[in-house]
Each structure stands twice: as C-alpha cells, then as structure tokens.
C-alpha cells in the first residue's frame, strides 16, 4: 500500500489498480470549515488534471482535480451527511472517491510523504 501526493494537495492511496483520493491535512487547514463536498458519480471517467470534485468551505468553493486518469468506482457517501469529516480526518474517513487506474505510470511524477512534507514547508 503506497500513498502519493500532488502539488494540488491531494493524496492517492494505491492498492492494486485501485486508487483512493482525498485532500491532505495541509489542504483542509487552508480551506477551513468544510460544509459541502460535491463528488463524482461511480462510472464517471476522470482525466488527470481535470475537474473531479468541488469542496465548499464557509468562505469559498474550490475545485478538486483528478490526480490521475481513471474510472470512478465509488464516492464517499459519508461526506454528504458529514462534510466536516474532511476537517477531522482528511487522510482517513474524509476520503473523496475511488477510481480504477487507467495509466499507472502517471503515478511516477508524484511525491512521496517525505517530499510532500518538504513541499508544504515551502508554501
């Protein structure tokens, strides 16, 4: 089980050809209180860098881009009832969606935990 990170502050956890995607603790801290998350439906194709979800804090709406290309297999329904899970457990119960990877080589350009930590310190 490997976790990758993007410069857009998403994490991607890989198990076989399935990726679970969410936003990082750093990202939720920047956004503040999250009150709504719009997630992609299962079956939707998302493209690396394309819009995949919308996260709304009290102050503003922010797009979440797909970190890799693939077909969405599941969205986290728990976020409809309790969007604040993204604040309280961003890299666990606050995951956004799962997808089946179309092109695993896209993972190569992403950061590991250590590189991401260094990246955040320079933000």
């Amino acid at each position: 089980m490997t976790v990758h990170y993007t410069e857009e502050h998403e994490w991607i956890q890989i198990e076989g050809d399935t990726a679970t995607v969410g936003i990082t603790d750093f990202a939720q801290g920047q956004l503040g209180d999250i009150v709504f998350v719009e997630l992609p439906d299962a079956g939707r194709q998302v493209t690396k860098g394309g819009e995949a979800a919308v996260v709304e804090s009290v102050k503003a709406a922010s797009d979440v881009y797909a970190p890799v290309t693939g077909e969405v297999t599941e969205a986290n329904q728990a976020l409809s009832d309790d969007p604040s899970l993204v604040n309280s457990d961003p890299e666990g119960a606050g995951w956004f969606f799962r997808l089946r990877l179309s092109n695993p080589s896209e993972l190569n350009g992403l950061m590991d935990a250590e590189a991401y930590k260094a990246f955040c310190e320079n933000q």
Binding site: D33, F36, K59, A61, S80
Partner: protein, 371 residues
C-alpha cells in the same frame, strides 16, 4: 507600514500573536480567522466576540451648518436625533445610488460618523466637496475601533467600563476603560447585543488585551463577521449595496426618515419618492437554498427559461441554521416571502425560497419604545 497583504492596522501584531490568518481586505492586512469561522461564529452568538474594525473610517463633522449640510446628503432626520444617539444612514448620489452605508451620532456640538474602510477616502472627498465650507471634517486616523458582540458582551464590558450596561441600543457615551477615555456605543453589525468602542490607536493593544483576557471573550475574524451579518440580514457595502442600487431596492426604507420622505431636500430624493410611490423594479431579499451546497455572490437569479433576472450579492453557509442562505436582488413580483426563486451557479441549477430577514432573530438591547 505595509506588507504583501496591505497596510498594517494598530493591532496587526496582536492578531498574528493570537494565531490569526491575515488576508488583504479594504487595503489592510486583516484577520480572516483564528481558530475557525464556524467556532468563532457560534462563540459570538453564545458568549462574546471581540472584533477589530479599525479599518473603518471615523470622522467628525463640526460647524453651525453641519446638520443642514448633512441632511442634503443623507436621508436621515437629524433634527430629531438626540445627543448621544446614533442612526444607520446612507450617503447617496443624486440619482439615489448608495455611495456608502454608515452610522451617524450626535455628540454634543458635532456629529461622529463611522463609514466603511474600503470607501472612506471616497466618502471624505464627497463630504468635503458637497458640505458647506463652514463645516470642518476631521478624519480621526489616530483612533482605533473595536466591537464586542454577543449575549455576554454587556456583563463583560460593564466589569471594565463601569456603566456601559445602562446604554440602550443605538445610544453611546464617553466611558473610562483601562485608564483611557473611550467613546462606546451600544451597536454593531452581528444582530447580537453589543458595543463599539473607539479608543486612541496608541492605547488599543492594552484595551484589546484587557477585553480579550475576560473568560467570556475570544477574538473573532472577518470570516465570522461576514457570516454573522449575513444571518442577521444586514447588507455589506460593495456586495449587497453599491452606487447602482437605491435604498428602496435595497429594502432599507427604514433609513429614510418620515419627515425627509415628505419634504425631500436630499440627494436622490426624486427617484426615491418615485420608487416609494410606485414600488422598485427589483428588491433585495433573503433566500434559503435547498440542499447543503452554498450559493455565492455572483450566482444568477434565472426565470423558467433560464434568462438572468437578478443576482446573488451575498451567499454562504449559516452556522446556526446549518443550511445555505443568501441575499439576492430579485424582480419585485418575486420578492414576497415564500416565493420560489431559481438560481444558477457554475452551470448548475439551485432551488431557493424568499425568506424573511433576519434569518436568525436580532437580540438588540432595546429600552422601551421609540429607540
């Protein structure tokens, strides 16, 4: 002094030391939040929140012609404004556009006015151009302004400034606090009972410390200030009000005093009289939005065919109602509470209903009738 986020206010270091996230607002670096907008919002509704509003313009207008001069620019009846009383009013263009909204207080031989931070320079230029030359205008750059708002504000502040709890809503006076003479009024912009406290900028750090050290008090940022005023149904200049909106459209008819309605004699009166007589073509209303997703400023009000017929001017998530709420200008025919309103944002349609404002009841400290 300034940094990337704007000019520095007297409490800049004070905010940063308390963990505030600073953002640019009205040309200043200002605290958007400390611990979080929802927590700060609820704290203000349940206890007492301390706001730094030192970016706002504090102005003194003095002279024998000040009252008559101001009455040519504002729709307020200043002749019945008693000493130590304040009133919400509007600076108007000749065609009834709103240049700014403000508070004006009669203070002995002069008027004290508090105007918005982003508009103060323009307001001052307008006042200097339009008031008689015998009226002197003093922009009190050396004064800071704090607000303490919430159900515990009165008991808390009375411990520090003896006698403030005797003030009624929209009255003010001079009080001693922490060895400083402050002008304190029972007013604010959250819908809660509370006070606004004008103190010399070179003493504001100690006064802010004194107030924030009280167990009922936490510092509150601009984020919660915005969500609190939205729940209270209070318009924000530059968003819900501008020179393209009139007081009647903005549903601020209460700011046009009875005598002024019949006598006129102020900027924009002809248009205002016509709109009072015939009704405006559009009106500012409150909206409750279906679902949980907030609809923001800039979203369109659309008709059944999808044509734009109005605009959302403020929108967000109400921490008290735990639902999205908004203010919008809608056609007058759709402005009655309960009217169904359709909104479009980022290609998505939202269903909303006109709701009476305030969304959350006001808790002002009114002493009897007529205040």
């Amino acid at each position: 002094m300034s940094d990337a986020t704007g000019s520095l206010l007297p409490l800049d270091a004070w905010h940063r030391a308390r963990g505030a996230r600073m953002v640019p607002f009205a040309g200043y670096a200002m605290p958007i939040q400390y611990e979080g907008i929802i927590a700060e919002h609820r704290w203000t509704r349940e206890s007492a929140g301390l706001f730094d509003v030192s970016h706002m313009g504090q102005i003194i207008l003095r002279g024998a012609e000040a009252e008559a001069g101001l009455e040519t620019l504002l729709p307020a009846d200043l002749s019945i404004l008693k000493d130590g009383r304040l009133r919400y009013s509007l600076l108007l263009t000749d065609d009834a556009g709103i240049i700014d909204d403000l508070m004006v207080t009669r203070r002995g031989d002069h008027f004290y006015m508090v105007v918005n931070g982003a508009t103060k320079e323009g307001d001052i230029a307008h006042l200097q151009e339009r008031l008689p030359r015998t009226v002197t205008l003093d922009y009190m750059k050396e004064q800071a302004l704090l607000a303490l708002q919430g159900p515990k504000a009165a008991a808390t502040l009375a411990r520090l400034a003896s006698g403030v709890d005797a003030l009624g809503f929209m009255t003010g006076g001079a009080f001693e606090i922490g060895g400083v003479t402050a002008w304190i009024s029972r007013s604010g912009y959250t819908g809660e009972d509370g006070f606004e406290i004008s103190v010399p900028a070179d003493r504001v750090v100690e006064i802010a410390d004194l107030i924030a050290d009280q167990p009922e008090v936490k510092p509150i940022g601009l984020g919660a200030r915005d969500s609190l005023r939205l729940e209270a149904g209070l318009p924000l200049y530059g968003h819900d009000l501008d020179t393209g909106t009139t007081p009647v459209e903005a549903d601020l008819g209460f700011a046009i005093s009875k005598r002024r309605r019949s006598e006129g004699g102020f900027a924009g009166w002809h248009r205002i009289a016509a709109e009072l007589e015939n009704g405006p073509i559009r009106r500012r209303v409150g909206l409750t939005v279906e679902g949980r997703q907030p609809v923001r400023e800039g979203a369109m009000v659309v008709d059944d065919e999808g044509n734009e017929v109005g605009k959302v001017t403020s929108g967000g998530f109400s921490p008290m109602l735990e639902a999205p709420i908004a203010m919008a200008y809608v056609p007058a025919a759709s402005a009655e509470p309960g009217s169904a309103i359709r909104l479009a944002q980022r290609g998505k349609i939202f269903e909303a209903k006109v709701a009476p404002m305030p969304f959350v009841p006001h808790k002002y400290h009114r002493k009897g009738a007529g205040q």
